[in-house]
């Protein structure tokens, strides 16, 4: 290994060091690419500029899934002249058994650098550092073991799910199953991007939204319920006895966003019709309160980060859909197909669906797709009279 004094600084301190990891790997495997990538990174740390440029590498029949990187300074540092990333879709909820992971590692060590990112922000396993001529074979070996490429480019992207019903009492639908279903449904559009721009699903099984779906996905599928919160009175009592009325007032009642909870004779009373399913009181008292029994999903649309229009949080488009059976999932897929068709017809190049909805108009979008107008779609009716209705 060449000296990397800048990077070496990042081996200090208690937090686990990626530099330490890379060095260990490089020393063990002696792969020149690893030395190259560290040298290039050191060079970036010194010059404060990046030196990768893009390109087009993919696998047989696919149009995306490999992020191609060629070095702009390969004359200086030839070992990492190619350093492509393979995006791999993990299981929904990022669950693994050690067998799966070990197979992955073994194949990756054989063909690539051995660097793995767990996980990319969009939810992929990122196998980082492979040369073009090894990509196909590496993919084939992975694919044999049940792994497939993730998304890139102007198409469907890889999705993320929270732990969901696998380990969470708040889960309101089976997000792992829907994730699998939806991503399989759109597998072709994920591998062969041909829309205006990217589109992302994220699946959070309750409004705590542990996948950040509202901000990071065009199609945020968030669990919710229709009926009243389930209350176990003795557990409520127990909580109050333990924490006191001041805490009940200051930490529960006073933090309910719609003032749905009142203090009544030292106890709490939830006016169910005022509740907006924010999760707060359930989070504070998980033993005492649970989501209602009539569960399903809300669909929020248009979440994305800052680029061009400023960050856009997803907007509630479908307040409720049941999501229990295969039929429910199919009905949902049909809806999403219609939505994407509308976007395909009405969107501009490099325009996320949320941007299209804002530009064309929410009303026009709903009409276009045939979604019922629902007051839940807006925070409030308009405050200006500037419209021309069809009377």
């Amino acid at each position: 290994l060449n000296p990397t004094p800048m990077l070496d600084e990042l081996e200090n301190g208690p937090w686990p060091s990626f530099v330490g990891g890379f060095k260990e790997l490089a020393e063990r495997t002696k792969k020149p690419m690893l030395r190259g990538v560290m040298d290039q990174l050191e060079y970036s740390y010194n010059t404060k500029m990046g030196y990768w440029k893009g390109g087009l590498v993919t696998v047989d029949g696919y149009g995306a899934g490999v992020i191609t990187r060629y070095s702009m300074i390969k004359d200086k540092i030839p070992e990492a002249s190619e350093f492509h990333t393979m995006r791999i879709q993990p299981a929904p909820g990022l669950h693994y058994n050690t067998e799966m992971l070990r197979e992955l590692c073994d194949i990756w060590e054989e063909y690539g650098s051995g660097i793995i990112t767990l996980h990319g922000q969009t939810g992929d396993i990122m196998l980082q550092g492979i040369e073009q001529d090894k990509v196909q074979e590496c993919f084939d070996r992975l694919n044999e073991k049940g792994w497939d490429l993730g998304g890139a480019g102007a198409g469907m992207r890889t999705a993320v799910s929270c732990a969901g019903p696998a380990r969470c009492e708040q889960a309101c639908y089976d997000n792992l199953e829907l994730h699998l279903h939806a991503l399989r449904h759109f597998v072709s559009q994920l591998h062969r991007p041909e829309w205006n721009y990217k589109i992302k699903f994220k699946f959070s099984a309750c409004p705590n939204d542990c996948t950040n779906a509202i901000m990071r996905s065009d199609l945020a599928v968030i669990g919710t319920w229709k009926d009243a919160i389930q209350v176990e009175e003795p557990a409520v009592k127990e909580w109050i006895e333990k924490n006191g009325v001041d805490a009940l007032v200051n930490q529960v009642i006073n933090l309910c966003p719609t003032r749905a909870i009142s203090l009544e004779n030292g106890g709490m009373k939830i006016e169910s019709r005022d509740c907006v399913r924010c999760m707060h009181c359930l989070n504070v008292m998980p033993k005492a309160l649970s989501p209602g029994k009539e569960r399903g999903i809300s669909l929020l649309m248009g979440g994305k980060n800052t680029l061009k229009v400023g960050v856009n949080m997803g907007s509630l488009i479908i307040p409720f859909m049941k999501m229990e059976t295969e039929e429910d999932r199919e009905a949902f897929m049909e809806l999403v197909e219609e939505i994407i068709d509308w976007w395909d017809d009405n969107g501009l190049d490099h325009e996320r669906i949320g941007e299209s909805i804002e530009r064309v108009g929410l009303k026009q979008f709903l009409e276009g797709v045939g979604i019922d107008v629902d007051i839940n779609q807006v925070a409030r009716p308009r405050d200006n009279p500037y419209f021309k209705a069809k009377y």
């Binding site: 693994y96 058994n97 051995g114």
Partner: protein
């Protein structure tokens, strides 16, 4: 790309299946969990309707892992959690075991391998971050390095539950912010319009695409040295960097002019207040590898103030909404300035249209 000697026929399977990845106790109680507790930092106990309990031990990783590291995690899983593990959306690893006796030994083992146990409950969890100089084609910094520097200073906060509520951090290497909104986010901020590399441009750029990409129509076609090229109206340009993504000749990055901004109050959960976007609270911080002390310092101040002043369940943004931005700036020692006043599309909606005032 197609190789003639290929024998395997691709199965377009999409995501990997998950059933076999679930611990048997998870499979049995799937969808039937009743409540959870956090018996100690980094450990969750979930109890099912059946009475079964599963313990989760959570530990931090560098995210930019290696096969060696992953194999080490597998060893732990084989020894303590029946060969099952998962990752969280914030790069933490989790081991699930029904056996409470496995918890303490597992923690010992993880810590001894250098994986800090924590990140659950009211703590600072791992940072959601991005590619940086390691891999991206448009970065102005190295997110992994910033994150490592930051987490070294927040090690205690990861391992202890001393915050008013969860704290989510993110770090991104350009203004696009692949790392996402967070309670506190560290994001590159371009401070200068792009310089156009005219030579490069004629080779790499689809001109109309770059023109279309600009949100404020600051890019215009022009002719330079007899070749079609582009020019930027610098008075209009808002330094967003969108053009650079469309065309690598729109050189927005610069060793000195690519700076950092700090953002606070992003919240994606629906708990209590509606999800909220984050606000800028510092900018023009230098891009200072390998340790970015100015950035870690600013983040540290914010966390110190929040830790001291937040009330139970208040997320960073909610704490600020209660105490007010004025006091936020006072208590963190950061400075509000005129550039932090919104001037973009919906600026008016951020004005203080009320007599609500703080002194």
């Amino acid at each position: 790309m197609s190789s003639p000697e290929r024998t395997w026929k691709t199965i377009e399977s999409g995501p990997h299946t998950y059933q076999e990845a679930l611990h048997p106790v998870v499979r049995k109680n799937y969808g039937k969990w009743k409540y959870h507790e956090i018996p100690r930092p980094g450990v969750l106990k979930h109890v099912a309707e059946s009475g079964d309990a599963i313990y989760t031990v959570r530990a931090g990783t560098p995210r930019q892992d290696t096969v060696d590291m992953v194999r080490r995690l597998c060893e732990i899983a084989d020894r303590f959690s029946d060969g099952h593990l998962r990752f969280t959306v914030r790069n933490n690893v989790e081991f699930l075991t029904p056996n409470p006796d496995n918890v303490e030994p597992m923690i010992k083992e993880l810590e001894s391998m250098g994986f800090p146990v924590g990140g659950a409950g009211n703590c600072v969890s791992s940072v959601s971050h991005t590619q940086g100089w390691l891999h991206c084609d448009i970065p102005a910094t190295d997110a992994s390095g910033v994150v490592k520097s930051m987490m070294d200073t927040l090690y205690h906060e990861f391992k202890h539950m001393e915050m008013p509520n969860k704290v989510r951090l993110s770090t991104s290497c350009c203004s696009i912010n692949c790392g996402g909104q967070a309670d506190i986010a560290v994001v590159v901020k371009h401070t200068r319009p792009p310089r156009i590399n005219h030579e490069h441009l004629s080779m790499v750029c689809e001109l109309p695409k770059a023109v279309a990409r600009c949100p404020v129509a600051a890019i215009r076609p022009t002719v330079v040295d007899g070749k079609r090229s582009l020019m930027v109206d610098e008075a209009k340009c808002i330094c967003c960097g969108a053009c650079f993504g469309a065309c690598p000749a729109m050189e927005i990055n610069h060793p000195e002019h690519s700076k950092f901004a700090i953002w606070v109050g992003g919240k994606n959960s629906n708990a209590r207040s509606k999800p909220s976007t984050m606000s800028i609270v510092a900018h023009n911080l230098p891009n200072n590898p390998p340790r970015w002390p100015e950035v870690t310092d600013a983040v540290g101040r914010i966390l110190t103030a929040y830790k001291a002043g937040g009330r139970p369940w208040e997320r960073v943004g909610e704490w600020i909404n209660r105490i007010g931005w004025k006091r936020f700036f006072e208590e963190t020692g950061l400075t509000f300035d005129e550039d932090m006043i919104d001037s973009y599309r919906h600026a008016r909606t951020t004005f203080n249209q009320s007599a609500h005032v703080r002194f």
